[in-house]
Amino acid sequence: MAVEELADAIAGFTLFADLSTPQREHVVDVFTEQWFADGEKVLRQGLSGSGLYIVIDGSAAIRIDGVDRATLRAGDFFGEISCLLSEPPTADIVAIGPLRCLVLALSQVEGFLKSNPLVMYRLLQGEARKVRTTTKWLS
């Protein structure tokens, strides 16, 4: 998919909702596009050196110790906790059918978020929702 097509594709994603077209083009230029086959692991539980991933097409399972816990779909992102804490992921992410993602390397995540505060704010909102869901589940 060309840069411009990808920039259009991510326009509807919450994470990039506040960005202009040139800003979205910059995003897809900085990120790398990757495809994963059905059943292929995108992230591996316990493996260091991951990245920030955004699902463009397809879906993926969040698998912890071999048990599927949730499903990720277009617009969802993952790997951010691992990047922010510089720790290995706590789950496998496994493609369900062909999966297309945008990927930002661990070493670039901090610089990217600092230079794109609007994305950082949206990402924080996403984390807040996850905490809220977990809190509800625990109570």
């Binding site: 411009e4 790398t32 495809w35 292929e40 692991k41 591996r44 050196g49 070493s107």
Partner: protein, 481 residues
């Protein structure tokens, strides 16, 4: 083709070119490669250990088929010239007596039952497995930029002197853009390089990601105000004018466009892989280079396209583990030459019943093997966190040297056995270091080994740390004669 022949796999090899090294009869534009072959290393060309220092030779099994580039270079640079690269490939083909059908152009593809049918200028070829090694060679420009078709592509550059005193706008800030800018520095009045994202330099990323040091001069010229301008901006339009071109750009930090009046526009916007009608069969392609999406063993990922494999620079489409976001070196000879060996072995074993030769090991041999591979193994040096040297550990089979394989294949249990694997790893900021993976009962542990300023990974400390990491799985009782 060399490896399939060595393994006794019957095949036909077709090439649209008239002779070996077709690509290097044309590229690179400024006549010298980016990849080095170091002549004096302490190792003889032709040995496996020498390959760590030789990025350009193809890699055969015999000494006479290895390190050939060192013998064809004139010694004036450790970056071979274009004709030297061409000669190295010709020499490999001569010495190994590879039998290609040259001048045979692949035109279309269809599938009948389990077989693929390649229609070529020399008739139809039918086979259940096809390996496409057609490179990334088709010039590409982003169609969404109005007027881009009026720009010259990287491959259409005129004689350098024709750019004397010209204002030049280069779209693209990767190696090809900087290569052109470097070549035109003595000629152009002004050079603008533009693309949306910032330029990265390989010396900063500690990898092949970014502009290589050979082409950094325009960057310094820009910083020291010599006439080069490097812009982080989207290109909105290229319009022809009476005196040349107007190029409209927009920076992501500005709310207005800028117009640049220039004499020439050059699109250094890359190349795509010429995979013709494979999309129609179900081959998925991605990214600017339209690479085919591939499994860890370089097979097309869609169920309908099983039996379609890829080799050569297109192997970039198999990303592997991408530790720290750093890609493999599969786009270059020094990377894909090892992928080809592993792929040929995989095909021979999986489809032709020729088992992968493994070697029994004594328990005392494992640590020295891993230490030596970390220090000298060319596959590990050139394909960091991508290819690994693997030893299987099995109560029934004992310890076996399984050779080289993709790290992802080992980690994800594709091998079907437990064991240990050694790799070299770059993280984008530190010097490279070895990493050991131990896989047991379907789970793996990682062990990072120390950095060494002289890249000697055979020290007592490395030996002791590998020993500690392997101690839960390695025992004398696993040794086999």
């Amino acid at each position: 083709m060399y490896s399939l022949t060595r393994l006794g796999v019957d095949h036909a090899a077709l090439s649209a070119d008239d002779a070996p090294g077709g690509m290097f009869r044309k590229w690179p534009l400024f006549q010298r490669m980016l990849s080095w072959t170091k002549p004096y290393t302490g190792f003889e060309p032709g040995t496996r250990d020498y390959e760590r220092f030789d990025w350009n030779s193809l890699s055969g099994d015999e000494p006479a088929h290895r390190g050939l580039m060192a013998g064809v270079m004139d010694g004036t640079s450790y970056f071979p010239s274009r004709p030297e690269m061409q000669r190295g490939l010709e020499l490999f083909a001569e010495r190994t007596r590879l039998k290609f059908r040259y001048g045979c152009r692949w035109e279309s593809t269809s599938k009948e039952d389990r077989d693929y049918i390649l229609t070529t200028t020399d008739g139809d070829y039918r086979a259940p497995l096809v390996v496409f090694a057609v490179g990334v060679s088709e010039p590409w420009s982003p169609p969404s930029i109005p007027g881009i078709e009026q720009a010259s592509h990287y491959g259409e550059l005129g004689p350098t002197e024709s750019y004397a005193d010209k204002r030049i706008f280069i779209i693209g800030k990767q190696n090809s853009g900087f290569e052109i800018a470097s070549g035109l520095l003595p000629w152009a009045r002004r050079i603008i390089l533009a693309s949306p994202s910032s330029t990265q330099l390989s010396v900063n990323t500690h990898s092949l990601v970014g502009v290589r040091a050979r082409y950094v001069q325009p960057y310094e010229d820009s910083v020291l105000a010599g006439g080069v301008v490097i812009l982080d901006a989207s290109i909105e339009e290229v319009a022809r004018t009476e005196h040349g071109f107007d190029v409209r750009t927009r920076s992501r930090d500005e709310d207005h466009s800028r117009i640049h009046q220039v004499d020439t526009v050059i699109a250094a916007t890359g190349f795509t892989s010429p995979l013709q009608d494979l999309d129609r069969l179900g081959v998925m392609r991605f990214g600017q280079s339209k690479l085919p999406a591939q499994s860890h063993l370089w097979e097309s990922i869609d169920e309908k396209t099983r039996g379609i494999f890829f080799a050569g620079t297109i192997n970039q489409g198999s990303k592997g583990v991408m530790k720290h976001g750093i890609p493999s070196n599969s786009g270059a000879v020094q990377g894909y030459r090892y992928n080809a060996k592993v792929l040929a072995q995989h095909i021979a074993e999986t489809y032709f019943g020729k088992p992968h030769p493994t070697r029994p090991l004594q328990a005392g041999e494992v640590i020295p093997l891993f230490l030596h591979e970390a220090r000298f193994g060319p596959e590990l040096w050139h394909q960091r966190s991508y290819l690994a040297r693997v030893v299987s550990i099995d109560p029934d089979r004992g310890l076996r040297d399984e050779g080289i394989m993709p790290l992802a294949h080992f980690l994800d249990g594709g091998t079907g056995y437990d064991g240990a694997a050694i790799t070299l790893e770059s993280n984008g900021h530190d010097d490279l270091y070895p990493r050991l993976y131990v896989r047991r009962h379907g789970k793996f542990d990682e062990h990072v080994l120390p950095v060494d300023p002289f890249l000697n990974f055979e020290t007592e400390r490395h030996q002791s740390e590998i020993g500690a990491a392997l101690s839960p799985v390695l025992s004398e009782s696993l040794s086999r004669p």
